[in-house]
């Protein structure tokens, strides 16, 4: 039924231009890393209240999307949606590429990157970071094994694919829990943060998968049945509604507690409110849902691609808002008192990212992109034609 897999030729000027552009991003990231390493973090916009900035937004966004990128593989292996089986290799490989890019940024932004291997040697098992070390390395291992079984040992594919699916849920729970377990800052510390991260990974991973599949097939002149894109669109609609549900439930729960009035009002109306309303809700949820539910736009490939772009940008905004608003909220050391000091006590933290941080973050995107570009050139990751099974019709359209 389905066509054979084949690597792309990768000899066209377009391929090399893209390769050079992504290589340029990697070089920019390397330059930024060396500059920050030489001059200290004072050359970034970070300070003693906002200690995680733009590089972390890039890193965590890539890690969240890495988990979500496995969607197409999981849909076929775990949930028996067979028409996506042909994208299983692409899906697992994209996860690996995004994971490496995200982890690279995280590592290179450390205050002491020369000590980056210490977490492998000294471990504190109470730390969410330590758990994440296991979760990331374990996820990468499972994705490689999953890929291997798809290439060679198909009899183990279901077993490994199911393990990877379970692992990715735990992985993204671990990523969200980095913030969810923190009680010392009022904006963090919510049990619903981790599930929201999982939902965001589902939306953004699917959206990025749609975009990359479409453009890879287009640029390599391969056929891709529109119905496959629309199938993924339907999944994305469901995931977007899940995100909206979790965002509403979180706000509802927090507003029910009088002790949270101040912090929640600050989120909805304070200095980062624009990012919450425009970025998280507008770009991340409302606009893509409006596009996808529109009968004309939602049923066009171009409309789905546009919505996917919004979803990816919205995931970035969600991570940025979680990090930056969470750290900016003034420390409430003495509830009921107004507090002032030379250390900005009582004030909202301010943060303006510098070019170096942007370069470092984009370096991670470049690493992921280069790995993807090399992977599809040297390995048979993609089917020669993206075909839908004969007689298969989508159960639902907008």
């Amino acid at each position: 039924m389905l066509s054979e897999y084949s690597a792309i030729e990768g000899r066209s000027p377009g391929y090399w231009k893209l390769f050079a552009a992504l290589g340029g991003l990697v070089l920019m990231g390397a330059a930024a890393f060396l500059y920050v390493e030489h001059h200290g973090h004072a050359v970034t916009g970070m300070n003693n209240q906002i200690v995680w900035g733009l590089p972390h937004v890039f890193a965590i966004s890539l890690l969240v999307m890495a988990s979500g990128a496995l969607n197409m593989g999981s849909m076929s292996t775990v949930f028996a949606v067979k028409q996506f089986e042909q994208f299983g290799r692409f899906s697992a490989f994209l996860s690996i590429a995004l994971l490496i890019g995200g982890l690279a940024v995280l590592m290179l932004d450390l205050g002491r990157p020369d000590n980056m291997l210490l977490p492998m040697v000294y471990m504190n098992f109470r730390s969410m970071f330590t758990w994440n070390v296991f979760l990331y390395t374990g996820f990468m291992t499972l994705c490689i094994l999953y890929l291997w079984t798809m290439f060679e040992y198909k009899q183990y594919k279901k077993f490994v694919g199911t393990a990877a699916f379970g692992w990715r849920l735990v992985l993204t729970t671990g990523t969200g829990s980095i913030f969810g377990v923190i009680q010392g800052r009022e904006v963090f510390g919510s049990a619903i943060t981790a599930p929201t991260f999982v939902a965001i990974s589902l939306t953004s991973g699917t959206a990025l998968g749609i975009l990359l599949l479409f453009f890879t097939f287009r640029f390599t002149r391969r056929e891709l049945d529109d119905r496959l894109i629309f199938g993924m669109r339907n999944a994305m609609i469901f995931f977007l509604m899940l995100v909206a549900y979790l965002l509403v439930v979180e706000k509802f729960t927090r507003f029910y507690d009088p002790a949270s009035y101040d912090v929640e009002m600050w989120i909805l109306t304070g200095p980062w409110a624009w990012l919450y309303w425009l970025g998280v809700w507008g770009v991340g949820v409302v606009v893509p849902l409006a596009l996808l539910f529109n009968r004309r736009i939602g049923n066009s490939v171009r409309g789905v691609l546009t919505a996917s772009g919004y979803v990816v940008a919205g995931a970035f905004c969600f991570v940025a808002h979680t990090l930056l608003a969470g750290q900016s909220y003034p420390f409430d050391l003495f509830p009921g008192y107004t507090i002032t000091s030379v250390f900005q006590d009582g004030q909202a933290g301010t943060y303006m990212p510098t070019l170096w941080e942007l370069m470092l973050g984009l370096g991670g995107v470049g690493i992921s992109g280069l790995i993807y570009l090399l992977g599809i050139r040297f390995f048979r990751m993609l089917p020669a034609r993206g075909e839908a099974p004969k007689g298969w019709e989508l159960p639902w359209n907008p």
Binding site: G40, H41, P113, N124, I144, S341, V342, F379
Partner: protein
């Protein structure tokens, strides 16, 4: 020798599995202790704590701050967002204006349940046998998760490369850029039987607003006063059991 792609994938998987499983070998090793192995100077059984009497702390006095900077070679970069503060003075104003402003120093609370220690991935932040929360700067990777977790804003990242001053105190390690640091209750002085520099300076300034001692010693002044006087800790609701107590708030 040439390898086909299947072999490359297989080897890649094996290497990745090795990398993933290598940290797991630690699971079979002796469990990491949250206290540092080199805490020989600490005296088990002691529990250092501080009582700050805010009624004796005036807004115009910064003796404790200056003493801390001198003792611990803490520089001022002139960059308010990135300056290192082991101890800082804050002013509190009652939002209902029912009481006069209160001045008090805020520093690391050396909690019994320190969230900074809980989140540190390399156990660089640890609790010494005598309850001091300290940082092993050679083990700190500069991830800053401890700064995120601390509700007292008591930790600072060293943002700048810093040269030690000419008259630097040789008993305090030279700071490296990219690691996190904070108040140590002047552990090096405690180990010599002295009081923390801030406490000594407060007494010299004739304020005596800072009382320091062993909370476990029933005869210590701090123990006695905590029994008799009404005091409170910062953010007691978080369950961290901080060991800096305040009177007069």
């Amino acid at each position: 020798m040439t390898m086909d792609r299947r072999t490359v994938l297989g080897l890649g998987g094996a290497i990745a599995a090795g990398v993933a499983l290598a940290p797991g070998l630690h699971l079979f090793a002796a469990p990491a202790n949250s206290t540092s192995p080199d805490s020989g100077s600490a005296q088990p059984g002691k529990r250092w704590g501080m009582l700050i009497d805010t009624t004796r702390c005036s807004s115009d006095c910064t003796a404790c701050l200056s003493a801390c900077r001198t003792e611990n070679n803490v520089p001022l970069y002139g960059d308010p967002d990135r300056d290192i503060h082991w101890i800082r003075k804050v002013e509190l104003r009652d939002q209902n204006r029912r009481q006069l402003p209160v001045n008090l120093p805020v520093l690391c609370n050396h909690c019994e349940n320190p969230p900074c220690v809980h989140v540190c991935p390399t156990a660089a932040s640890f609790v010494r046998h005598d309850g001091l929360v300290l940082i092993d700067k050679h083990r700190c990777i500069g991830c800053r998760y401890c700064i995120i977790a601390c509700p007292y804003k008591a930790r600072s990242l060293v943002f700048y490369k810093t040269k030690p001053p000419r008259d630097a105190n040789p008993n305090v390690p030279i700071r490296a850029a990219g690691v996190v640091e904070k108040c140590t209750f002047c552990a090096h002085r405690l180990d010599e039987g002295k009081m923390p520099a801030c406490v000594e300076a407060c007494a010299k300034a004739d304020k005596n607003a800072m009382i320091f001692g062993d909370l476990n010693d029933p005869n210590s002044e701090i123990h006695q006063r905590l029994l008799k006087e009404k005091t409170q800790t910062i953010r007691a609701d978080l369950g961290l059991k901080p060991h800096v107590h305040y009177k007069g708030i």
